[in-house]
């Protein structure tokens, strides 16, 4: 079906200040001891001890063209930032890695051991000795340009965004028109967000319904905003994390996990920038890498949240927001993405297995929006049905939280702006197939999730909508009508929900009930293809062929490549006596889709009639 709305509020944000080697003053004691070799300590040299640490952990960002504000590739590079490096590593500000170490390992973990940090401190205290050149490992080689090689297709943002020299952080969304003329499978999207020193993080969302375009003041300019809601089909390739942060390598989906890209699909790049001190035009590009291996395993993004609990009084230092969801099916967790804004402090996700065993899925003890990331597990985490996934996020709305956007603090509730808060936990899970081919575990999971969200908040628009779409998919039309009606009650003017309610009423033969909703959908969004198409059908079913004609004409104008719209336009023309026009559009439908039965049958009928009753 053409409707479905999943709120991927977008994974937003952040990659912090480009990174590295900046420093704050060392504690006085360290200052005193600087450059006095500790007698008992072994001598630490750059070539033998420091270079391997720096090359592996720092250089991936700190080399020309990357996010690090200066290179860390040679002895001279490292020496000229030596005390900074000692300071930021000691405080674990660098390399940026938020999760606490735990039982479950993440891929590409960027965390120095205590020993490595101590070695760096000793090296600086001992006077930054270079050491024997024969000890120096080979300098790492980095690919310049596209990390995955030349992309099959490159798309560039139509217009640059101008980041101002000063002020606070900026959030901008670029809408890319995808250049495919048929559905293709993607194994990777490489995001080149522009000058990497400015971008904290970037995220691609697949937008099949032009949700992003509708927010642009003029085509191609993009639009502001920290969080996004993208409409999608019920099960969608959105269930992939397409995330960029400084130093991250583009992720290539394994075989069978490719994501589908259709024509007329947009890719929306949600970005977070920090001013650099000078004006910077930013014009990102995306590299698309296709594969001929279609997606056969379809993950789902589970979203835990509890926005209704988010109502944080000013001054509150330890405000808890929790959510608990029990998996109805066996599933593997592939990746996790916790998200809060500037008040978030301690972010914990926990799995309690049916036997009572607990696994920490992720624990971030010192949340920093600037370094948020998607974390992929080194090995998928298998969780049996009956496992409860728990989100425990705490928030600090005191004046002592230096990131608090409100000084003095004020009451903060859930919302999409930087001064609002969020408590979201996304998990990318792969539900296991059940033995019964008639049961789709994804449907079970989505249904359980929608019901869970409604339990948290009976006024959850998206949950009613998604539940309705699932009922509709299973052919339970009256249940679908009830849930879509709830969605429309909550947002009476929402075009998507009105269209969906109209469509499902129409499918159940309740034409009179459908028409007002379809009209409402078009009032809100006059260029809504689905609503024109559905209203055309509703009017035709009532015998109002002239009315139907208008809407099919609008539909064909909006989607000139839609064979069904052409065929229906042909039918409406035939009914209103324009046989020549009807033939033309049936022929056009068959040109687009030679297998379009409606067009073929109607055209044959028309030909038979014209033999019997020559004009």
């Amino acid at each position: 079906m053409k409707h479905g709305s999943e709120t991927l509020s977008g994974f937003f944000i952040i990659l912090a200040l480009a990174s590295g080697g900046v420093a704050t003053p060392l504690a006085a004691a360290t200052r005193e001891s600087a450059r006095k070799p500790a007698a008992a300590e072994a001598q630490v040299t750059f070539n033998r001890d420091i270079a391997p640490i720096v090359f592996r952990n720092c250089a991936p960002c700190h080399h020309p063209g990357e996010a690090g504000p200066f290179p860390l590739l040679t002895y001279a590079d490292v020496k000229t930032h030596g005390r900074q490096i000692a300071s930021v590593t000691r405080k674990r500000l660098m390399p940026p890695w938020l999760p606490e170490p735990g039982e479950l390992k993440f891929a590409d973990e960027l965390r120095l051991s205590d020993q490595e940090i101590a070695t760096i401190q000793s090296w600086v205290e001992q006077g930054e000795i270079e050491g024997n050149s024969s000890d120096l490992p080979r300098q790492p080689a980095f690919t310049t340009g596209w990390q995955l090689g030349k992309p099959d297709v490159i798309v560039r943002a139509a217009k640059p965004y101008l980041l101002l020299a000063g002020g606070s952080d900026s959030y901008w969304n670029f809408v890319f028109r995808t250049p495919v003329d048929r559905s293709q499978w993607l194994r990777a999207i490489e995001i080149r967000p522009g000058d990497k020193r400015l971008v904290h993080h970037a995220n691609v969302l697949v937008d099949r319904e032009e949700s992003g375009r509708r927010l642009e003041k003029e085509p191609g300019v993009g639009f502001g905003g920290m969080e996004l809601v993208i409409e999608s089909e019920a099960f969608d390739p959105d269930s992939h994390f397409l995330f960029w942060k400084p130093g991250s390598r583009p992720y290539v989906e394994p075989d069978g996990m490719a994501l589908r890209l259709d024509k007329n699909t947009d890719l929306v790049l949600n970005t977070h920038f920090q001013p650099s001190g000078k004006p910077e035009p930013i014009q990102p590009t995306l590299g698309l890498y296709f594969t001929d291996k279609p997606g056969t395993r379809h993950p789902i993004l589970l979203q835990l949240d509890n926005d209704r609990m988010l109502d944080i009084p000013p001054g509150e230092r330890n405000f808890l927001v929790s959510d608990d969801f029990t998996l109805p099916v066996d599933a593997s967790v592939l990746a996790i993405y916790p998200h809060a804004h500037y008040l978030g402090r301690d972010l914990l996700a926990l799995a309690t297995l049916p036997d009572g065993t607990k696994k920490i899925l992720i624990h971030i003890g010192n949340w920093d929006l600037n370094w948020q990331a998607v974390y992929r597990y080194e090995q998928p985490v298998d969780l049996p049905a009956g496992t409860t996934i728990s989100m425990r996020f705490t928030y600090d709305n005191s004046a002592e939280n230096i990131r608090n956007p409100n000084q003095p603090p004020k009451r903060v509730v859930a919302g999409n702006r930087a001064s609002d808060e969020m408590a979201h936990l996304w998990l990318q899970v792969l539900p296991h197939e059940s033995g019964d081919a008639t049961i789709d575990p994804r449907v079970q999971l989505q249904e359980a999730l929608a019901l869970h969200h409604l339990q948290n908040n009976p006024e959850d628009f998206e949950a009613h909508y998604n539940l309705a779409a699932l009922f509709e998919m299973k052919g339970q039309l009256s249940a679908a009508v009830l849930e879509f009606t709830e969605a429309v009650r909550i947002r009476p003017d929402d075009p998507t929900a009105n269209n969906a309610l109209g469509a499902v009423l129409l499918a159940g033969g309740q034409i009179g009930g459908a028409i007002p909703h379809l009209n409402t959908a078009l009032e809100g969004r006059p260029d809504y293809f689905d609503a024109h198409y559905n209203l055309g059908n509703a009017l035709a079913a009532q015998g109002d062929f002239a009315g139907a004609l208008t809407h099919f004409q609008a539909a064909v104008r909006l989607h000139p490549q839609d064979a069904n719209a052409e065929a229906n336009l042909g039918s409406a023309l035939a009914e209103t006596g324009n046989l020549k026009g009807a033939r033309l559009h049936f022929a056009r439908a068959l040109e687009i889709d030679p297998k379009n039965e409606l067009a073929r049958e109607n055209l044959e009928q028309l030909n038979r009639d014209s033999h019997g009753h020559p004009n």
Partner: protein
């Protein structure tokens, strides 16, 4: 507190003039000791140049992201106080050439005169340790304040959405009004100048 008079540097500066004169035939930047230089390579003592204005030295480094992020703030403050305060950008890195500094000034929209301080003469006199830190001198080379510009940064990568204290502006007001500051020295957040030695 304490360090109110800097008689010794004055004597050293006298020596400098002699030494510099002696080596004036070749690159003055190589020859001159105990001085900062303008971008043409001439020795300059910004603390003598103020006349009746107070002098603000702003220590920066072209590759320090924290210092760079302050560029609009620094430029704006220099314009607001132009009538009474002479601002100088001071680049303490030996490695940053006049050409690199000119490019940096252009890119970041600076219209403040720049000095190179490869021998850290001004760094020492100003008692600064970090870029970006500032030093405010009233007439008579009296160091009124040295340290951070404001409290935007708590640490590297840890910033407020806006600064809530404005130490440089307070120091300028204090110097102009002949008042003493509660805190005449703070620590900046940014890049260590000693790493440049």
């Amino acid at each position: 507190m304490g360090r109110r008079w800097h008689t010794i540097p004055v004597i050293r500066l006298l020596l400098v003039v002699i030494v510099a004169a002696g080596f004036a035939w070749f690159a003055s930047t190589l020859g001159a000791r105990n001085t900062a230089f303008d971008l043409a390579g001439n020795p300059v003592d910004p603390l003598k140049s103020g006349g009746r204005k107070i002098v603000v030295l702003v220590f920066v480094r072209t590759d320090c992201p924290v210092a760079n992020r302050y560029a609009p703030t620094i430029q704006k403050l220099s314009e607001e106080h132009a009538a009474k305060a002479a601002f100088w950008l001071v680049y303490p890195s030996k490695a940053e050439s006049a050409e690199v500094i000119r490019k940096h000034e252009r890119e970041y929209g600076y219209r403040i005169p720049a000095l190179r301080d490869p021998q850290h003469v001004l760094v020492k006199e100003s008692q600064v340790e970090i870029t970006p830190e500032v030093a405010v001198f009233s007439s008579g080379r009296r160091l009124v304040y040295h340290g951070r510009i404001d409290n935007l940064y708590q640490d590297v990568g840890r910033t407020r959405s806006v600064a809530t204290t404005h130490e440089l502006e307070d120091a300028i007001s204090a110097a102009l009004g002949g008042k003493r500051l509660e805190a005449d020295a703070t620590h900046g957040v940014g890049c260590y100048i000693s790493d440049l030695e």
